[in-house]
């Protein structure tokens, strides 16, 4: 059964979202709603952990782009971490790796 599990945890001003399962046109709206509800403020950070993502399609990509724009507008830091190889490849092909992936993994 396909599906996406979303868990969120706050550590101070950092919100960590862990995704497990498949992020596609069926599950992306739920992620979008979850991310839209997270408080955003200057100095906050939003970190999305992709390590459990078995699949990510263009709807998932759209969701990340929307979330990033919203975060940037609010002054919140935004980054994706630990993409599994297929997701990593997708981010690389679309050139989004440099915008969406954490540049300094040790900070994440």
């Amino acid at each position: 059964m396909s599906g996406l599990r979303i868990t969120t945890a706050a550590e101070g001003t950092t919100h960590r979202v862990v995704l497990t399962g498949e992020l596609d046109h069926e599950t992306a709206p739920e992620l979008e709603r979850t991310l839209a509800r997270l408080p955003q403020a200057a100095g906050h950070r939003l970190v999305i952990d992709l390590s459990g993502l078995a699949l990510c399609d263009s709807s998932g990509l759209t969701t990340f782009i929307v979330a990033r724009e919203r975060a940037l507008a609010a002054g919140t830091g935004f980054e994706l971490t630990a993409p599994p190889p297929p997701v990593s490849r997708m981010l690389r092909v679309t050139g989004l790796d440099r915008v969406l992936l954490a540049r300094h993994p040790q900070d994440a």
Binding site: L61, T62, R92, V93, T94, G95, L96
Partner: protein
């Protein structure tokens, strides 16, 4: 045995009280059953009929028994159905169940009914007569007719939608590819859904006397919004190339245009490869830029496959200052440049494996088609796709350009 402190009657007492309460006249049970009941000879002649059915139909017993056959009670359409379906089924099966028929009453009205019939046999198994129950089905039939009407309506609407979609889809793809001297051009388009306009697009068009532009891409989303975006993208690419043929400049213009009406909640972006093609002797020089699109392949005549990567090229429309990267290639006769969308590489096999999961798979497959020409490469890749995924779930576009050998021009 007691229930809540009350003594329950002994079984014999209960039977006696039921007997007093219920009609135990078999005749009454038959005649006034809440359904119509009749018996006919094997040829359909009515031999016995209950009062309920006579009341429904407005006939007297003597009008029917020995005078009419069951089929006589049916509407003409019902008679035809009776002869072509009901009677054969009864003969072959010994029963016919839940047939929807219309009976015609004495005053000419229609009574929709459900009919079940069984053949009564003697001890030797020879058929003797037919027993038929008739249930009033007026409300059920009205409901079913409504259901049927709704189904027809839905089917018509669906056909209309599909016609509209295919018309729209055609306007988003070139009606025909141009003739370019010395170049074989072939394309394949697979729309995953006949109800929705796909998001893949491509085109090849003349820029000036000896230069051609080409592009292939994939917009985000599906349906009407994707169609609008595809249309905008196609015209922007063609117009931008008129002003400045540099592929990176063309993609930058597209990025600006897509950002102009930027809605943060609903990003409009696409991935696309835009290229220029210029004949040079028997060869063609290709320069292209990619905006976040899977890398084109050059299948060399000798079986080598070059993957035209453009590291760092970003998808178009998603970021204010997107970065695009150019590359170039020279196509000699027998080489084929192949552009494709992720519908090909992300096609999933029954076990879930993507065709492009292993990045080496597509180039390795393509190598097998070396020297066959652009049309054959496109057809072979389309076959690869359908062999990999029975019903590809995403749209797929493939465009191939290959210089013909001089002797074949």
């Amino acid at each position: 045995m007691s229930v809540a402190g009350h003594q329950v009657e002994e079984p014999e007492d209960r039977e006696a009280s039921f007997s007093a309460l219920l009609e135990d006249s078999m005749e009454d049970l038959y005649d006034n059953a809440p359904c119509g009941y009749l018996s006919t000879l094997l040829d359909g002649e009515i031999a016995k009929v209950n009062a309920t059915l006579l009341t429904w139909l407005g006939y007297r017993r003597e009008d029917l028994v020995g005078r009419r056959s069951f089929a006589d009670l049916l509407s003409v359409g019902g008679k035809l159905y009776h002869e072509t379906h009901y009677a054969p089924m009864l003969r072959m099966h010994g029963e016919a169940r839940e047939l929807a028929l219309d009976l015609v009453t004495a005053d000419g009205h229609r009574l929709p009914v459900l009919v079940t019939a069984t053949v009564k046999k003697n001890q030797d198994g020879d058929p003797l007569l037919v027993r038929i129950t008739v249930f009033d089905a007026r409300e059920r039939r009205a409901y079913e007719r409504e259901l049927l009407r709704a189904r027809r309506e839905a089917e018509r609407e669906r056909e209309r939608l599909q016609r509209l979609t295919s018309t729209l889809q055609r306007t988003l793809l070139p009606a025909e590819l141009p003739e370019v001297l010395g170049l074989e051009i072939a394309a394949h388009y697979h729309a995953a859904s006949s109800d929705q306009v796909g998001g893949d697009f491509y085109d090849v068009f003349p820029l000036d006397a000896d230069r051609w532009g080409f592009f292939l891409g994939d917009v985000c989303g599906k349906g009407p919004q994707a169609a609008v975006l595809t249309s905008l993208t196609r015209y922007t690419l063609r117009a931008a190339a008129v002003h400045d043929t540099d592929p990176v400049a063309v993609l930058s213009t597209l990025n600006s245009v897509l950002r102009q009406r930027h809605d943060p909640g609903a990003p409009r972006f696409c991935t696309v490869v835009f290229g220029l093609l210029q004949p040079d002797g028997d060869d063609f020089a290709v320069s292209l830029a990619s905006g976040g699109h899977p890398p084109p392949l050059v299948i060399r005549a000798d079986g080598e496959v070059d993957v035209l990567t453009t590291p760092g090229g970003q998808l178009v429309g998603a970021l204010p200052d997107a970065h695009f990267v150019a590359t170039s290639a020279r196509l000699t006769p027998g080489d084929v440049l192949v552009l494709y969308t992720d519908g090909l590489t992300e096609a999933r096999r029954a076990d879930g494996l993507m065709l492009g999961e292993d990045e080496e798979r597509l180039p390795a497959l393509a190598a097998g088609f070396a020297g066959t020409g652009a049309r054959a490469v496109v057809d072979s890749l389309a076959e690869v796709l359908t062999a990999w995924a029975d019903e590809p779930s995403d749209d797929t576009a493939i465009l191939a350009l290959g210089p013909r050998p001089p002797e074949a021009r």
